[in-house]
Point group: C2
Chain length 233, copies 2
Amino acid sequence: MSKPVITAFDWVPWFAKGLVRDLRVRWALEEVGQAYDVRYLPQGSQKAPSHRALQPFGQVPTYEQDGLTLFESGAIVQHIAETYGGLLPRDAGGRARAIEWMFAALNTVEPPITDYAIATLFEGEEPWSRPRLPAVIARISERLDELSRRLGENEWLDGSFSAGDLLMIAVLRQLKGTSLEGAHDNLAAYVARGEARPAFQRALASQMAGFTAPPPPEYAFLDQPPTRQGESR
Amino acid sequence: MSKPVITAFDWVPWFAKGLVRDLRVRWALEEVGQAYDVRYLPQGSQKAPSHRALQPFGQVPTYEQDGLTLFESGAIVQHIAETYGGLLPRDAGGRARAIEWMFAALNTVEPPITDYAIATLFEGEEPWSRPRLPAVIARISERLDELSRRLGENEWLDGSFSAGDLLMIAVLRQLKGTSLEGAHDNLAAYVARGEARPAFQRALASQMAGFTAPPPPEYAFLDQPPTRQGESR
């Protein structure tokens, strides 16, 4: 098989740096030891027809290898896990449970976290965002309580580190810098264990090194976090 | 293998009838021709420790068979597809693309639709919900436009009917009765094709037949849709 090619952005707002979803795919490739190339999309071109032919929703990442084109980072991570081995248990039951945690990360835990980003970042200035924030936080807290209870003192969610842990940790990292980040000691330690993996470190460094473009003029104010006193995410 | 057992609710609010996520698992089981049993959870017991031992987030459905316990409907659908065949293409590329549509349904298309349900049902009476509804609808519309463009005149998303179509149609059905339901003729026809499948019909009938309990007294007002003139979802 030839080296896969993924797509990524050459610039994103400060709050997305280190979190864009190609990180999940880079991390999976690093875990299985597969080298890859990156094609960087200049700002704005993700909605162009040429990229939509690969990714109908105009997002990153995509994955191309030997005539196969895939989008949707969860599916790409699963494809990598199935192609190279090492991220899914070999026994049928363990494999099904690792996939269960992949879907739990993306369909149960991530949606309320995305809602928080909408309320604080994308619609942070809208008059309706602040009043509804307590309800948004309550939905996330319920999920974190449940996840914390299930994880307990275990190192990973189900036996060895798997693609389920990879996606769950990637999802939980989106809470960094928010009041929810350190709410559960065992979840904080779980995220830290994931981030300490050499494969994660290489993936993060690669993503960060890829932000080489200046911000588009109209988004220059999003290049760095706000620093005014009292202002926070 | 013995007959699988899934869990489902014996009562839900009117707006959830025909949409609860055990429908997705019932549909998959009907498609592959596998009989199953249902254990109904009395109202409230989904948050009890006995059910949380099976489903850490206190939801339905779960799936039990020969010592394997799974939760998360997307993962259960995939497990059924892999165990019985017929819902995933046999070639590696087609299989990866069907899984891609499963994740696209649950991680790209469903979250904004869930946000709509929050704004109109769960937080429908909150003062912040009506002002933010246009932005919520705009996010869904963008996804529907993109999905409609990709589907075009095709019968299914990628070749034959797959687990990806099953989940995408189940997700799109949540827009029924909203202003977004008929926004794209090809998506409406796509959903109708899915619903016309005998396996879907059997799954829907089974779910509806399972709602045999009276509403809990405190939720009696949610047993039937509101009928006052001018009131709508």
